[in-house]
Subunit: 318 residues, 2 copies
């Protein structure tokens, strides 16, 4: 028999899941549309059936745990709470519902914490005890590891660095406040910055020919790679604000590394170069040179399932 865990990533649109062994090999995987199941019990039934089906594919496998990444997940309670992008309202005791059908440990956390766990168990942070993963997608998610443990805090919701205020009175944020880090340092923040630069600057740019609703971080990265002055300026400003947030995180927990992950991180050296420069300029002197700014060591395409699986393995191997 070979021990495996199920790693499950629940998104607003799709839920992907896979069976993962201790070394981080995805043995089999599948997905279902989250939006097809507005009733949570129907979702749980469909998910459990699909996982059992993956298990039946290989009689030599033994399922010993389940890890789940989901929005607004409360690690302490195994619940999803008031998630704006999911149909299930209120407080959903998801871990309990699943455990009733599959009797193994079920652990739940948000996707950024799962990403941090994936980095620690299968990625670039294998030998690190203190690091932070920033997921730069539509928003900015963060998973903080201190002394080898993901930080959940008193409420279970710690690690919301995307909602650090970096510009008092700045851009409107989905959280209802203004000037949050994620309104600048994320894929959608970069798009907003380009619009600002198109307003501030007079230079010609192919970005002026794209409707704002069709602008993406990828198109901006491509323009920057072609030395478009607006795209380069926007990338630099994004890096500066991200570095500001990173420098303030460094004085808090003094990590060994910050891993950047997700859509915006795909910009590669165009982002990492200026981020490193601005962190070095802004960080308190005693921390200068102590923190590596690194790309994630987990392949983006598998990261969600591997992160959730890492959460399960972490609970089992300690």
């Amino acid at each position: 028999m070979k021990d495996v865990v199920a790693g499950i990533d629940i998104g607003g649109t799709n839920t992907v899941f896979g069976l993962v062994d201790k070394s981080g090999n995805i043995i089999s995987e599948n997905s279902l549309k989250t939006t097809d199941y507005p009733e949570i019990q129907n979702f749980v039934s469909a998910l459990v059936t699909a996982i059992n089906k993956l298990m039946e594919g290989d009689a030599a496998l033994k399922l010993i745990g389940i890890g789940i990444g989901a929005p607004n997940a409360n690690y302490h309670k195994g619940t999803i709470e008031l998630a704006p992008n999911l149909a299930w309202k209120g407080i959903v005791p998801l871990a309990e519902y699943i455990r009733k059908k599959i009797d193994v440990p079920v652990t739940l956390t948000n996707d950024a914490n799962a990403a941090a766990m994936g980095e620690m168990i299968f990625g670039g942070a294998k030998k690190m005890k203190d690091f932070i993963v920033l997921t730069l997608g539509t928003g900015l998610g963060s998973g903080i590891v201190i002394n080898g443990e993901v930080v959940y805090g008193h409420t279970g919701f710690a690690g919301e660095l995307g909602h650090t205020t970096v510009v008092p009175g700045g851009r409107d944020c989905g959280c209802g406040r203004q000037g949050c880090l994620e309104t600048y340092a994320s894929a959608s923040g970069l798009v907003r910055t380009v619009l600002q630069m198109l307003s501030d600057m007079r230079e010609e740019s192919p970005l002026r020919d794209i409707p704002p609703s069709a602008l993406t971080a990828r198109k901006i990265s491509e323009a920057a790679a072609q030395n478009d002055p607006v795209a380069l300026e926007a990338m630099d400003y994004t890096a500066e604000i991200l570095a500001f947030g990173i420098a303030n995180s460094i004085v808090f927990s003094s990590p060994e590394a910050i891993f950047l992950f997700g859509g915006l991180a795909q910009a590669g050296e165009m982002l990492f170069g200026p981020v490193r420069k601005y962190v070095d300029e802004n960080v308190q002197p005693i921390f200068k040179g102590t923190v590596k700014i690194l790309p994630s060591g987990v392949p983006e395409s598998n990261a969600a399932v591997l992160g959730a699986a890492a959460l399960a393995w972490n609970g089992l191997i300690r």
Copy 2:
């Protein structure tokens, strides 16, 4: 025999130390002038002699550990490193020097981390696993506890919240940068804010009759208690910036409580009231109402020795 530890607080001017039992009773204490010992070996000899003398005072005592709070202390290494306010230059392996003369475990950390340990073992955080202590003196020190452990980070220097940048391009800080939290939210920050308000405002104020070099947080608190408009405005602004730093710490580690300690915290409700109001206004919605803002539960006069002693006890009782 009764087990005791020695709690030692090394300051730039004075070093105070005492024997402390497991319940936090200070059995005896003494002090020496740090500045009398520019040579570290002479300091260690004098300190060890003085501790042995305290022990000789009561034959029923058994010394089982030593905890030290000191500036620029590295918990991981037991060293004091490049402390600007101490005569001992470079990296001083203080724990090792003391252990050579008294063969018990010796633990070292900075004074704010020691204060957090004191709060956890002897003060208001006895049942808490996630909290932050802010010491509002000449600077702003912080001790961060997550999951029952003080956060030291990769370098051993984590928890420098006083050097979070809160006003980019703002006031000059002793660390060489600008706009650090401690240049606003500390006893000396309050003094700087009063000077700013005296410049901005036209109101009469007794604070206009005090030379800036003689202004203190206490005098400003006293003026505020008399409803002086400049002092009240300065107190409110100080509370607003402090709350801004606190709100950004809450998204990081989601603590159960923030303890305010030191000179500025003596202002009591004049400070705590507006701090609570601004934290509530500024914190991310999911953390609203989850964090208590509290005065320290350790008496200020004994806090330094008790914090250092708590550090020793914490290492012994786990």
